[in-house]
């Protein structure tokens, strides 16, 4: 089953690579011309094209790209030019930016789970109570605003008015708190909703009534019976959202001058930085696919029925 899943993942990755390669080439605009500047001579532009292999036929460019991708050598970025030459390898660019975005995503994931799962369970335990209504309505209210506006309000409140936290930057723990909080709001909302719905449904089922009438402690009923059965949809959502966090952080990165993957992506598209785009997408796609496979494997760990099938 795992082999089949991984093969499917590889096929998806290959299609993704083809689609991205085709899309990037379909965008009008010659990167050599864009980066050489308006006063460059025709020979200089031609020289740039030759040095980047842009003069070769498209199919050949594609195979060179796939070969290089497989060996991890993804070429040189066009956009950071030092002394008239593009020398920054894309891989070093990606590996300097990736940890920032990943750190933000992991912090958000942990923080959101710590907030949302207890909240969802508490709501499910007392459906229709004041607390449940408050949380549910607050959820709907917050998710109805654009995410970046909520972030703007949080910055205004915590950084500009109360002066507790810095408005931007990357490095210290204090600089991570606000971006994490901003990126978490939507994730917390959806995770709370799913947890509440799933746990609520399970608490009404027959086997929970049986477990209760056996005289099991309430905590045992909740953690061993209810939460474990609610885990599959929750894990699915977390897996799906985690991969979305990486791209969702583009807005947060822009607001906090975070200089992560998202900003690299946007700037790369703006200057038609082919090598960087062509490396970024497979990398993110690989992360997405890996996430999905991990989620599938987790199903097996959580639910013996899946494992034995």
């Amino acid at each position: 089953m795992i082999v089949k899943r991984v093969l499917r993942g590889i096929l998806t990755l290959f299609i993704t690579i083809v689609v991205v390669f085709a899309l990037v080439r379909a965008v009008p605009g010659d990167p050599a011309q864009l980066l050489a500047g308006s006063d460059a001579t025709e020979e200089q532009i031609q020289e740039m094209r030759v040095s980047w292999g842009l003069d070769k036929p498209i199919t050949e460019q594609f195979w060179i790209y796939v070969k290089k991708l497989a060996t991890g050598d993804v070429g040189v970025s066009y956009q950071f030019i030092v002394g008239g030459k593009a020398t920054t390898p894309v891989s070093s660019l990606v590996f300097s930016r990736l940890p920032r975005t990943l750190l933000l995503a992991v912090c958000t994931l942990i923080f959101s789970m710590l907030c949302a799962i207890p909240l969802g369970v508490l709501c499910a335990l007392k459906p229709g109570s004041l607390f449940d209504n408050l949380v549910t309505n607050l959820n709907l209210f917050i998710t109805s605003f654009p995410g970046f506006y909520i972030a703007m309000v949080l910055i205004l409140l915590f950084a500009l008015r109360l002066n507790w936290l810095p408005t931007g930057g990357y490095g210290t723990i204090r600089e991570m708190i606000l971006p994490t909080l901003c990126l978490s709001t939507r994730f917390i909302a959806s995770l709370t909703r799913v947890t509440r719905a799933e746990v609520g449904m399970i608490l009404n089922s027959d086997y929970i009534r049986t477990a209760k009438s056996k005289g099991l402690r309430r905590s045992a009923v909740l953690f061993k019976h209810a939460l474990r059965n609610a885990a599959i949809p929750i894990v699915t959502l977390i897996g799906m959202r985690f991969s979305k966090l990486v791209t969702g952080s583009v807005y947060i990165e822009a607001l906090f001058r975070f200089n992560g993957m998202g900003q690299l992506l946007i700037s790369s598209v703006n200057v038609r930085d082919y090598p960087t785009i062509q490396a970024l997408i497979p990398y993110t796609a690989l992360m997405f696919i890996a996430c999905n496979i991990v989620v599938d494997l987790l199903y097996g760990a959580i639910d013996p029925r899946v494992r034995n099938k």
């Binding site: 499917r8 096929l11 998806t12 990755l13 299609i15 993704t16 689609v19 991205v20 899309l23 990037v24 379909a26 965008v27 009008p28 605009g29 709907l140 209210f141 109805s144 605003f145 654009p146 995410g147 970046f148 506006y149 703007m152 910055i155 205004l156 500009l160 991969s243 990486v246 791209t247 583009v250 807005y251 822009a254 992506l265 946007i266 598209v269 785009i277 997408i281 993110t284 796609a285 997405f288 696919i289 999905n292």
Partner: protein, 284 residues
């Protein structure tokens, strides 16, 4: 004339508790936008030096009253949110219509014929999951230039598969029902089964999810405006207005907040409407 009891019964129907406030919120905002086609309190695009940064319920130095205040260029906020709805709603409706069309056609076909086509669609959805949607939209926008149609198309491409998945799931269930099997046994053609039997049962789901999608698309468009990828100035959309007020957040909070509340009001209204329709149609 309806009797009093009937009136009360009508208001107390299932789902009315959500349909009425939702309809009111969406109705007011849409009416404001329609009204702006023929009339706005002030010229929404005229900068006015005498009225820079007037707060809500404030009066500018020329003695003109601004219900929702003015922005950093002295433009009346109420006029601007009314006008901003024209593009925001147009883009959202176009995008949702395209998503619903693509999603329903492919969803029904995928579930009805199954086989290789269904596998192929599954593959496409998986690929789409593994490419960040933002990148697709960004590429489409750079490819065709940033116009309303392209923006709507890009949003449709990135959102169609939520409709696809719902329609496909619903069709799969309906296909196995006795009435479909009966139609098949009676010798109905594929086209007849799909159009006369399956679609009428699948469409309500599509309509509910398409309604809910309008909110998602409005929010997505706002996000793109924030990244500078939305429709270009001077056209106002709600998202662009929120993004443009960012620099003034500390001194004039209302410049971003009012369009943000407009968006939120609309999205809440749409969600209530969607839930209400679902309850009226008993789709829980």
């Amino acid at each position: 004339m309806m009797s009093k009891a009937k009136k009360i019964a009508w208001f107390r129907r299932r789902g009315m508790k959500k349909l009425i406030p939702g309809g009111l919120l969406v109705g007011i905002i849409v009416l404001g936008t329609l009204l702006s086609l023929i009339w706005t309190p002030y010229n929404p695009n005229a900068a006015d030096l005498r009225a820079i940064g007037v707060g809500p319920l404030g009066t500018d130095s020329a003695g003109c009253f601004h219900v929702l205040g003015t922005d950093q260029l002295g433009r009346d906020m109420l006029s601007r949110v009314m006008v901003g709805g024209q593009l925001s709603l147009l883009i959202a409706i176009l995008a949702v219509f395209c998503s619903a069309l693509i999603g329903t056609v492919l969803g029904v076909a995928s579930a009805y014929y199954e086989g290789w086509f269904d596998h192929f669609m599954g593959m496409i959805v998986e690929v789409q999951h593994s490419i960040p949607m933002l990148l697709i939209i960004v590429l489409v926008l750079t490819l065709f230039g940033s116009s309303i149609w392209v923006l709507a198309g890009g949003l449709a491409i990135s959102e169609w598969f939520s409709i696809f998945r719902q329609t496909r799931a619903k069709t799969l269930v309906q296909k196995k029902q006795d009435y479909t099997l009966a139609a098949k046994v009676l010798g109905a053609s594929n086209a007849r089964i799909i159009f006369a039997h399956l679609l009428p049962n699948v469409l309500p789901t599509t309509i509910v999810f398409a309604t809910l999608l309008i909110g998602t698309v409005i929010l997505a468009e706002a996000g793109l405006s924030f990244l500078g990828l939305g429709v270009s100035r001077p056209y106002a959309t709600w998202g662009r207005m929120v993004a443009d007020g960012q620099a003034n957040m500390n001194t004039a909070w209302w410049i971003s907040t009012i369009p943000a509340i407009w968006i939120a009001g609309f999205v809440i209204g749409i969600n209530l409407l969607g839930d209400g329709i679902r309850q009226v149609l008993r789709m829980e």
